[in-house]
């Protein structure tokens, strides 16, 4: 089994409170029913951060790029290969409103 990083990008502001709560429930179902025991971890990210381009060129208090490009958080899952990881991610309800990028963690 390899580990895969799912990067959650973008943001979406158009939903009613009730819809948002429903989406949250649907995401929970995805974790319970699709990812199951292959869920490793996940976390949301703060919008602000520090960008170090070099030792002297330090930019603080981002965001540094447009909000649709911004990384909102990540999930790490286990999968046999990229194809399986992508299949799993295709089912992810976040895909309706966010872009998801799947990257394999290189086993070292």
């Amino acid at each position: 089994m390899n580990q895969f990083l799912i990067i959650v990008k973008g943001c979406d502001h158009s939903a009613s409170p009730e819809e948002m709560q429903k989406r949250l429930a649907i995401f929970g179902e995805w974790v319970q029913n699709v990812v199951k025991d292959r869920y490793v971890t996940g976390a949301p990210l703060e919008e602000e951060g520090t960008l170090l381009k070099s030792k002297t060129e330090v930019l603080t208090d981002g965001p540094f790029i447009e909000s649709k490009e911004m990384i909102s958080g990540y999930i790490i899952v286990k999968a046999a290969d990229m194809a399986e990881a992508v299949e799993m991610t295709k089912e992810c309800p976040l895909l309706e409103k966010f872009q998801l990028e799947v990257r394999k963690l290189k086993p070292m």
Partner: protein, 424 residues
């Protein structure tokens, strides 16, 4: 770092919606009612962050508390960004704009009793008599109940465009008339409270009226109406007002029948055919309790009478044993307070139970002049029913067919078809 899997099933139903109402209220308390849109922006931003963070990081232990903390933080940022551009709530403007006092002020405003107080202010503002009734209902749903434009339109069976216009006009009016974000006091309190109760009553009726479109969200409307009325009872000065309890009682009795009113195909089931074992006994018991609480003071309002009628229906062991004589008396009293075509129609129908089919037929024909009944299937179905009972099948058949043309409900059509074949 949390590796706990998010489980949104842990959340209370409609948590986001109800917290939205609390958050918009307290944010409006800060920003001022003239900045309602600003409060709505901060709310949207907060809920969006919750969706993202809770999906990826798990549900926090205290979801409501989490939302309030984030809303407060976002409000502080908003105030910092906007303090040179606009004024906030008049009684807090200076405090919020000064570096020395804003933090203490924010802490004071975000206390639980202030949040409750803000919700009451919001109720009284949304139900201000200067706003047209339709706008009051839409604004209440938007701000206090966290409904989106789309959801309001679905619940009120109208277009989104219409709701947009109503909300826009309501907000304009609030600005023009400089309507205060406050709970009135003294004699004005009770006058304004009547306006609030009327909006809650309308809200409930919109959800309860016999139409089969969007049943789920219209049921939510009824639950929201009950929740708002409960909010009012939390303040002792208001809880002493008997008609609040009468209104709550009537809503409990109706809500008790909600599930039995709809069959497995989402079609409405008429009272006579409802499975009474599916009526919610807890709600009926609550209705009885509220009715007892409402029986103080010397005014029997329409709410009291309607609650009493609903109680008679809910407490009757079966349709046949309903106490029609008492219900007739309540309706007669109600007609004196509210001489509407619909109440007269009910009165005429009950005459068929307490007197004779012919008496009911005469009473029904006397209502022909009312425009409100002209296109109402129940009027013709009732005429058909009593003509059938009187043995006059040809007339009955004509009225049943006419009723059938006027209803869109598949279930009602089915009932009418049965009546029609009974006449042939």
């Amino acid at each position: 770092m949390s590796s706990k899997k998010p489980d949104a099933r842990a959340l209370v139903d409609h948590l986001f919606r109800h917290e939205a109402g609390r958050m918009v209220s307290i944010l409006t308390r800060l920003f001022g009612i003239h900045n309602l849109e600003l409060a709505e922006d901060v709310l949207q931003d907060t809920l969006h962050q919750a969706l993202k963070d809770w999906s990826l990081g798990g549900i926090p232990e205290n979801p409501s508390g989490w939302l309030m903390v984030v809303a407060k933080r976002k409000a502080i940022n908003m105030i910092k960004r906007q303090r040179h551009l606009r004024n906030f709530a008049a009684d807090m403007n200076a405090l919020l704009k000064s570096e020395w006092t804003y933090s203490y002020t924010m802490d004071q405003v975000f206390l639980e009793n202030e949040i409750k107080d803000s919700q009451l202010r919001m109720i009284f503002t949304c139900c201000h008599p200067a706003l047209p009734a339709e706008a009051q209902v839409a604004l209440t749903l938007k701000t206090l109940c966290g409904f989106s434009i789309h959801e309001i339109a679905a619940a009120l069976l109208t277009s989104e465009d219409n709701i947009h216009k109503r909300l826009y006009r309501a907000k304009e009016k609030i600005r023009q008339e400089q309507i205060d974000f406050s709970v009135p006091s003294g004699q004005e309190l009770f006058e304004r409270l009547d306006a609030v109760l009327l909006v809650i009553y309308l809200l409930f009726n919109e959800g309860y009226q016999a139409a089969e479109d969007n049943l789920a969200i219209r049921k939510d409307l009824c639950l929201e109406a009950m929740r708002l009325a409960m909010l009012l009872t939390e303040r002792p000065a208001l809880a002493a007002y008997p008609r609040i309890h009468a209104l709550l009682s009537l809503m409990c009795f109706h809500a008790a029948r909600f599930d039995a009113r709809v069959d497995s195909d989402d079609c409405l089931v008429i009272l006579e055919e409802q499975d009474r074992s599916r009526w919610n006994k807890g709600l009926i018991a609550q209705g009885v309790e509220f009715l007892a609480l409402s029986a103080s003071g010397d005014t029997a309002t329409a709410y009291h009478l309607e609650a009493a009628i609903a109680a008679e229906h809910c407490l009757a062991p079966n349709f046949g044993e309903t106490n029609w004589i008492r219900i007739y008396d309540y309706y007669s009293a109600l007609e004196k307070l509210k001489p509407t075509a619909l109440i007269k129609l009910n009165l005429a129908i009950i005459k068929g139970k307490t007197d004779s089919p012919l008496a009911a037929i005469a009473a029904l024909h006397a209502l022909e002049k009312y425009k409100a009944l002209e296109g109402y299937y129940l009027y013709y179905a009732s005429l058909g029913e009593f003509y059938a009972q009187a043995g006059q099948r040809t007339e009955a058949l004509g009225y049943f067919n006419r009723a059938k043309k006027l209803t869109k409900s598949a279930a009602t059509k089915k009932v009418l078809d049965r009546k029609i074949s009974g006449c042939q």
